[in-house]
């Protein structure tokens, strides 16, 4: 199993900034061909806090390897948990959790 997504979340003046680094090869069609591997990339990613979606993105193969994302949202407390889930083309799902500091 691949490494977990690294999550850093910080609360400042009511706004939470989340930085996350997902661990994924993100092989586009071209790259997969030259490396003779199967195409695979993250297609859908969400972040939830207290079961409420705070971030949602559908992505293509043009994200960089080990995609890094940053986003902000309001309405969370210190100590709340951020759960980031991604799905890739092969149907793998991974869930990682980080705490808001």
């Amino acid at each position: 199993m691949a490494k977990k997504t690294r999550i850093k979340a910080k609360l400042k003046k009511g706004i939470v900034t989340v930085k996350a680094l997902a661990n994924h090869e993100m092989l586009s069609y071209r790259e997969a061909k030259s490396k003779k591997k199967d195409v695979n990339f993250i297609t859908y990613m969400t972040a939830k806090v207290n079961d409420k979606i705070v971030y949602e993105v559908s992505t293509s193969q043009f994200l960089s390897k080990n995609p890094y994302i940053k986003f902000k949202f309001k309405g969370a407390q210190k100590g709340d948990k951020v759960v980031i889930t991604w799905n890739d083309l092969k149907g793998t799902t991974q869930e990682s959790t980080g705490k808001i500091k």
Binding site: I53, F62, L63, K65, F73
Partner: protein
């Protein structure tokens, strides 16, 4: 109210409280499969937003002028609009759509992401707000392609 009724009422409330959160979740790869194979920015925009008429204001797109390495191009899209959807397109790769964000309640449009481009091209950020499309674009010069070409 007998016990059985009470139970069904409880279930109804539970179902109601669950629905809104699932409604906002949309995997655009499933709901709009055509958007991901469109090779032109205009047609990709049509697929995602149903229109390709944009207003060039109120959206900020931060990207490097020159990307030495096309495999990692940091982008930041920000806007003060109360948008509902944000999308990123580019015209350097075979397909145009890079990412489509759904802005949830409490969300702030300030997204950073890293993308790859195989050659020099334009990057477009589009924000949908109250039925209108606001956009920003920028040319990113790529010196080494990042799509393994």
């Amino acid at each position: 109210m007998n016990r059985r009724n009470f139970f069904s009422v409880g279930l109804g409330v539970l179902a109601l409280s669950v629905v809104p959160s699932t409604l906002s979740a949309a995997n655009f790869r499933e709901t709009m499969p055509k958007a991901w194979t469109a090779s032109k920015v205009d047609s990709a925009m049509q697929e995602v937003f149903g229109s390709s008429t944009t207003i060039n204001s109120k959206v900020k797109l931060k990207a490097p002028d020159i990307a030495e390495n096309g495999a990692v191009i940091p982008l930041t899209v920000s806007s003060k609009l109360a948008g509902s959807k944000v999308a990123i397109f580019q015209d350097a790769n075979p397909e145009s759509t890079v990412a489509v964000f759904t802005v949830p309640e409490n969300g702030i449009i300030d997204y950073s992401i890293r993308i790859k481009m195989q050659k020099t091209g334009n990057v477009y950020a589009v924000v949908e707000s109250e039925g209108k499309l606001y956009a920003a674009s920028k040319v990113v010069k790529v010196t080494i392609g990042g799509c393994g070409g």
